[in-house]
């Protein structure tokens, strides 16, 4: 009887619902110019709670100003989405993937908080990013199945056996994703195709991440689904996590075979992610479909990336001219974007929280702080001025933060390696000036990587560093490796006329005999002594030890740009036949990011010690002294009060400033009188956080242990 009642009720509701759909007549848009607003986010990377960072010049150019820190947060994003929706008749929120991984909330709740909050905020579609797989496919399946209320798109993955271990209650990832989705936005039909990342997933696969599928060529997949959607949709949108180069590769390039049928000719808009970049102004990719329309008009595909880490919400306002005859298969008459406007809006403290979302996130915040003590402080970062301890040195070589990480690995108790390697991209944020908290350590080290010890021959070291040079040469000669205990020249482009040109056989064409340069791929040179194609990027002048380069007589520090002098250096040259005890992280040890030489090494021992813990211990062991001053003397200017600049001392709350630093009475506030202004502080570092260590610019400073060379 109960079942019968429910059936009747559902049936009645269905009838009414059906009638509702019939009654809510959609406007006939044929031949009209209509406005469509697309909300775009990408690479949110678990920044569900606001976080501190120092915006770089690009960010500041986009309006992300230090004074409006902290940044990000799903409650603010929710507010912004609601605001956009009330200022747009037709709107659609799409995300380009990698909502997972990057903050402690992910380590704690393993994706649940991301999926639930984005569902609540009203996200309408997301392509799967590579970091959605960081805890393996089964975990992804579990969370999507339990919580997701929006489509997850991916068209370029071929699924493995659906009965594999990736299932959750009989559901697999194949069941929980779709290659495309058609949205009816107030009469506009928008076909959205998801394209997931290939390369990084392959790296993840090498890194022993369970996948449950294999990627297929995105161009082929795209072509198939565009052919399917074009006739039945007004607009075809690609939601991509491929990265910019691959997004551009989807374009009908002017220089590839112009007669080839390329897949983006019928794509109106590509929304990209993965590289954490902003393309404002949007890129315009040639998209001539051969129609008379394109003869008379510049047919282009819009390509937009909207940044990362919840720093921005992209807003794309489109003017869409709807097909006059409804035939979207006909390029002369199909619906087209005739105009657009794009802005990436900063997610900062000027945006109020959406109270509903803030309430929803509150329990996550409470439990997170209970379990991890996110606000716990164990060091103070005190570089000069407004600088940070950076993971990317301006030179492209070793960085201070990278050096710290590698040194911590090298010196970790029980590891005691001769030198250490870690991949640059495993370090995800800088150390900002001020107290270093556990939360920041999760932002810097979101991955649960551990230290692996292995024994490498000198030749393996050479091959590994050759690989790093070749990879780095493709990335602006920015080192893809950070290290300690070893020094070398990263030759990104050699001088063929020098006495020491690169001689590393190109691993991409190792068996290709050559007689001249034209026999080799673009960028390679034929080494006639080997009759093999050699890369123009390689590792040279490798020495084991620290402070290998000559000292600058003016500073007493290593001259970061000087060649190692074999006669005077305290270091020893790498011996091809030597055997070295090396510390690496378990990601590259498993071949992640292409470190195949490490993967093949069979002497690996995983210590189980996390990089995050190792670095924390290393940093806490540093002295409580910065630039010759103890933490009892150094004032903290990073709290809220720091931003209170005052022209005269009386503007410091309760402060009395005379002749430099004077402690105010009563509330431990102090003022540091500067020539033209006064900045207010809460107190000394020691007063505020106890006897913690202090990190200034000298600790593991950039010292040229990796020296980029581009000749």
């Amino acid at each position: 009887m109960r079942l019968q009642t429910m059936t009747l009720g559902v049936g009645f509701a269905a009838v009414v619902l059906g009638g509702c759909l019939i009654d809510s007549d959609q406007p006939d848009l044929a031949g009209q110019d209509v406005r469509l607003t697309i909300i775009h986010t990408a690479d949110i990377h678990s920044r569900l709670f606001p976080y501190d960072m120092v915006p770089n010049s690009f960010d500041q150019g986009y309006g992300l100003l230090p004074v409006n820190s902290p940044f990000g947060g799903i409650a603010r994003i929710s507010t912004m989405v609601k605001r956009i929706r009330v200022s747009a008749e037709r709107s659609l929120w799409l995300d380009s993937g990698d909502a997972w991984e990057g903050a402690a909330v992910f380590n704690e709740f393993k994706g649940e908080a991301e999926i639930r909050s984005l569902s609540l905020a009203g996200m309408e579609g997301e392509v799967l990013g590579n970091h959605e797989f960081d805890l393996g496919t089964p975990q992804l399946v579990k969370e999507l199945n339990a919580w997701s209320q929006f489509p997850h798109l991916v068209a370029d993955y071929a699924w493995e056996d659906p009965s594999d271990s990736s299932s959750d209650n009989g559901l697999t990832l194949q069941d929980l994703t779709t290659p495309f989705q058609i949205y009816d936005v107030e009469g506009l039909k928008i076909g959205v195709i998801g394209l997931g990342n290939e390369d990084t997933l392959l790296s993840s696969y090498m890194g022993n991440t369970t996948l449950g599928f294999r990627p297929i060529d995105p161009g082929t997949a795209l072509q198939q689904y565009v052919a399917l959607l074009r006739p039945v949709c007004d607009l075809v949108v690609v939601l991509s996590h491929l990265g910019l180069d691959d997004d551009e590769g989807l374009s009908a390039s002017q220089v590839d075979d112009p007669n080839a049928s390329l897949p983006n000719q019928n794509v109106d808009l590509i929304l990209g992610g993965h590289l954490h970049i902003v393309t404002n102004p949007p890129k315009l990719l040639p998209a001539d479909d051969g129609s008379q329309y394109c003869v008379n008009n510049d047919c282009e595909t819009l390509l937009i990336h909207s940044g990362a880490f919840a720093k921005y919400v992209g807003r794309i306002d489109l003017v869409v001219h709807v097909s006059d005859n409804g035939d979207n298969a006909d390029p002369e008459h199909r619906t087209r974007i005739t105009n657009f406007a794009y802005v990436n809006q900063p997610v900062d403290s000027t945006i109020p929280d959406d109270p509903d979302m803030a309430n929803f996130m509150w329990p996550y915040s409470v439990q997170l702080n209970q379990d991890i003590d996110l606000n716990g402080v164990f060091s103070y970062v005190d570089p000069p001025g407004t600088a940070t301890i950076t993971r990317n040195d301006a030179s492209g070589g070793d960085s201070q933060l990278g050096n710290m990480v590698a040194r911590a690995m090298q010196l970790q108790q029980g590891v005691d390696a001769q030198f250490a390697f870690t991949n640059s991209l495993g370090i995800r944020a800088d150390f900002n000036r001020g107290p270093l908290t556990n939360e920041q350590m999760f932002n810097v080290f979101p991955f649960e990587n551990t230290i692996v010890v292995l024994y490498m021959s000198g030749q393996e070291v050479q091959d590994t560093l050759d690989f790093v040079a070749q990879e780095s040469s493709q990335r602006g000669c920015k080192s893809q490796l950070q290290q300690a205990g070893i020094t070398w020249d990263m030759v990104c482009r050699d001088d063929p006329t020098s006495s020491t040109p690169c001689k590393s056989i190109d691993p991409a064409v190792p068996d290709t005999a050559c007689a001249q340069d034209t026999d080799c791929p673009s960028g390679d040179r034929c080494d006639t002594t080997q009759s093999r194609c050699v890369t123009r990027a390689c590792a040279q002048n490798i020495f084991i030890g620290d402070n290998c380069r000559p000292l600058d007589p003016n500073t007493g520090m290593p001259n970061t740009d000087a060649p190692v002098d074999p006669a005077t250096t305290p270091c020893t040259s790498l011996s091809p036949d030597g055997l070295y005890r090396v510390a690496v992280n378990n990601y590259i040890a498993a071949g992640g990011s292409g470190f195949i030489v490490l993967q093949r090494n069979t002497s690996q021992q995983d210590t189980g010690v996390s990089l995050r813990d190792s670095l924390t211990v290393f940093l806490t062991q540093e002295p409580a002294i910065c630039d010759g001053m103890t933490t009892a003397q150094i004032l903290d200017f990073t709290d809220t009060e720091m931003n209170t600049k005052c022209a005269v001392a009386s503007q410091c709350p309760s402060g009395t400033c005379t002749n430099g630093i004077v402690t105010a009475t009563g509330d431990s506030q102090v003022c540091n009188v500067l020539p033209a202004s006064c900045m207010c502080a809460q107190g000394t570092i020691q007063q505020l956080w106890g006897n913690i260590s202090c990190l200034d610019e000298t600790i593991e400073a950039h010292d040229g242990r990796i020296r980029p060379v581009f000749q």
Partner: protein
């Protein structure tokens, strides 16, 4: 359970009580200029902004005029006018529109306004930005076909005498496609003058037909194409110095600390075998001390190669420690006071040239050539040159 089902049904039914969606559309007519041009016949813009006159009409979803006549809607909002060219809207929708067009009974009077200096296909965007009662309606005009920009158009300030001439790119935040040389088939070529780890620089030159050397440079005819990675063409071939970029290049213009650069570029080389001939590179501009008093000379040569004769190498200072910038004094004095002043040139050779500048301090270099990529932030100017190889530095 039935009660819940009925309640649900009623709630669902409530959504049908909303009025039927309507949709206003605008038809934008360009009254002036009379000719819009076309893809093969481009309009010639004045270079300082041109007048455009438009009229606007509002129609409903059934293409009936919203004129308030019987059975027709009545549209009476004021709409904003914007111009779209080179990939962005000017101004953006949140800015003050170029003009406001009052609509009465679905029709406007012709409204004239001045558009900024525009290039390429250009449309007028009309948007209902009414403070109240907005319809979210938008419409665009037919395309006005202005000529595409050349390299110099992206570099040359609107007014060389203006205070921001050194750090204000006229097409900042626009997406440009430089399809070719401003000299066209009259010996024009786009030639790569230097390649560095994260980009390359290009010059728009005029050569003898072919193109055949020698090739002449032109003011503002240079661009820094910042690719972040080793620069490649659309076929993934590495770009090299002396190469002719025969299909042009494109990207987003940004003024980065006073240096105009093209970001996220695409470079198109159509030739199966790219033409590479360093002799096509124009001779560097020869610096003289008057440039310090007439700083626009630096701007005219930004991202081009410049030659400095007989400078003295200054003592290394913190700029070398921090940025690997060593200074030269073109006046030939080389004393501490001059070297600490503004009238010096910074040189960055690290990585590209195996040279320890500390060994040259106090000495006169007979000649040094480098690509000029300065920093200009307000009145703060650092003139930086980047030698490409040791061949660019003549030592005593």
């Amino acid at each position: 359970m039935i009660r819940y089902a009925l309640l649900a049904a009623l709630l669902v039914g409530c959504t049908t009580m909303e009025p039927e969606k309507t949709s206003t559309q605008f038809v934008v007519t360009v009254v002036s200029p009379a000719s819009l041009g076309d893809v093969n016949n481009r309009l010639t813009a004045s270079g300082s902004g041109d007048a455009v006159t438009i009229s606007v009409q509002a129609f409903d979803e059934n293409d009936q005029p919203e004129d308030g006549a019987a059975g027709h809607a009545d549209y009476n909002n004021t709409v904003g006018v914007y111009v779209h060219y080179l990939g962005t809207l000017t101004p953006y929708l949140t800015g003050s529109p170029l003009a406001s067009v009052p609509m009465t009974h679905g029709t406007s009077q012709p409204v004239s306004f001045t558009i900024p200096p525009v290039y390429g296909p250009t449309t007028i965007w009309v948007d209902d930005d009414s403070a109240s009662g907005t319809t979210f309606a938008a419409g665009t005009s037919p395309t006005l076909w202005f000529r595409d920009p050349f390299t110099a158009d992206t570099q040359r300030p609107v007014n060389e005498m203006s205070i921001d001439a050194l750090y204000d790119a006229p097409l900042d935040n626009k997406n440009v496609t430089i399809a070719g040389s401003q000299y066209g088939s009259n010996g024009g070529a786009l030639v790569v003058t230097s390649v560095y780890a994260a980009g390359y620089t290009i010059a728009d030159v005029q050569c003898a037909p072919g193109p055949t050397p020698p090739c002449a440079r032109t003011d503002y005819g240079f661009m820094d194409v910042y690719s972040f990675s080793a620069p490649e063409d659309g076929r993934s071939r590495f770009i090299v110095e002396g190469e002719v970029i025969d299909g042009g290049y494109s990207g987003g213009v940004s003024e980065f600390d006073g240096l105009t650069e093209l970001g996220f570029p695409q470079s198109f080389v159509n030739a199966d075998t790219p033409l590479v001939n360093p002799a096509l590179e124009p001779a560097p501009a020869v610096f003289d001390m008057s440039w310090f008093g007439n700083k626009i000379m630096f701007e005219r040569n930004e991202s081009g190669m410049i030659e400095i004769d007989n400078p003295v190498v200054c003592a290394l200072d913190s700029a070398y420690t921090t940025y690997k910038e060593w200074k030269i004094d073109p006046s030939g004095a080389g004393d501490a006071a001059t070297c600490a002043g503004d009238n010096v040139i910074d040189v960055v050779s690290a990585g590209a040239v195996e040279l320890d500048p500390g060994t040259l301090v106090g000495q006169t270099l007979p000649k040094i050539i480098g690509n000029l990529r300065p920093i200009n932030i307000g009145s703060y100017n650092v003139w930086i040159i980047y030698p490409r190889s040791m061949a660019d530095i003549t030592t005593p």
